[in-house]
Amino acid sequence: MKSKTEQINNSEPVVAVDIGGLILKNPVMTASGTFGYGKEYAPYIDLNRLGALIVKGLSLEPRKGNPPPRIMETPCGMLNAIGMENVGVRAFIDEKLPFLRPFDVAIIANIFGETIDEYKKIAAILSAAEGVHGLEINISCPNVKKGGIAFGAHPDTAYEVTGGVKSLTDLPVIVKLTPNAGDIAEIAESVEAAGADAVSLINTLTGMSVDVEQRVPHLKNITGGLSGPAIRPIALSMVWEVVKRVSIPVIGVGGIMDANDVLEFLIVGARAVQIGTASFINPRATLDILEGIDNYLKRHHITDINDLIGTLRDGCPTS
């Protein structure tokens, strides 16, 4: 027995996961908007070691973004209202993608539009580009044609965007869900029906903070998106709701700071995770997390991470 244990301890556990046909080396991705276009963090970590690299959200045309202040710290969290600043999909392909191509890492482009047509155009452009391995559709953005309510707020619009993008690409399509909708699991079911290969959740929660001395919002945009450890319990419970309702892979996002947090998501049923705000605090967060996961798997004699996913037991901790 002892020699077997030792053997397990010495061999590296399998950590590869399958996200709708896209095989990732490991389940740790960077969250869109928190890792720039990849290059910004290249001096800090070996990008080859990531499960996937998701870039800043791309629109059809370049966007200038919101006036500052754009961010504010809150208890165990932060608000941001970047306003979707990005170089636009074409400049991304011409100026940013060449840097990323040599890396042996799955590159996933996060995209958003104001109309379904825009989403489709961006998807088509990216599908024709070499070196993009998947698309993540951000449906938290306001649908200008439907009175500015987010695509992700209603099952029907979420269905339409997903179907529209799927019809134009062969790349695996992840749909990123917003927590600011009523029943997130309902939206998840709807995008699954529309052909989504996976869902990722959660995007930021709408939040606000005020400078009481000057009686002005801390953000010029008044409200912003809340991220960071503060939202982790909410993200985890939403992932738990969604895994019970869909059969496509679910990617957990929200407030993950360390390996322990990742394990919570995996145990609840997430197939992979995204690390957002944590990279700001520690550029090496993703890799530190990978090491932590590895230690855990070895300590628990789990030889394949897929055997851990969705293994939440009933009952309560015994101490």
Partner: protein, 275 residues
Amino acid sequence: MSDVMSLLVGQIVQNRELVPRYFFLMSVKLPESLATPLPGQFVMVRVRDRRDLLLGRPFSIYAFARDKTAPVIELLYRTTGRGTIALSRLKSGEYLEILGPLGHGFDIFPEMKKIVLLAGGIGVVPLSFLASHYRKLPINDRLRIIAYLGAKSADHIVGMDRLQETCTDVKISTDDGSSGYHGFVTELLADDMESYLHGDSVIYACGPPAMMKRLAKLLGDRPISCQVSVEERMACGVGACLGCAIHVKAVGDKTRYRRACQDGPIFDIREIIWN
């Protein structure tokens, strides 16, 4: 892997109150892998294990020395909110998380004869480091460094001692007249402005937005270059989050945002749109 940058753990050597509950001077010992910082560069500082103080706080580097045992940086800071108050309570021996040096430093002009520094309050920090950097250059002999230092009042003047060591002249202004010139430091500079317009001078400035705006107006298109260090809230410090947007002029009538952290924190004053 030694040239890969990473979050460093620094140990506090000293954390001294300069002006009670207001200005603090901290020196932090860092691992050998710390890259040598340039004047104008900054670090993101976090108190270890404090998840409630989630984001790093940006601080300009006040001084740097690579002593026998390890590199040491000095920070000079003002307590304004939860983060800086938490910093001020730390004792020597405690640990900090430090990311940096980050951003671009000031451009150095070895051909200049007069280096003019305009500091508002805590804005003295990067300028003081810059002055000592200029003093170490071979051109030192013919170099005049003139510092204009503005503060609320006499007891809020900070950084004087170092400036007096490195500068040819240090001129003080206070808002309440309790020391030096009574009024804004930009007015003090305005009086001497003519003498700096002969192509042999450069202005470096750091201070509150109101001071910077006045300075921009004062300079207009007079023939002198001016670099400023700007402040904006930051999350990543490395150019990834786009949180630290600075409004700048772009081609034609257009404007755009640049990142205070990665594209700055040093900018040409004339590039920035002050509002």
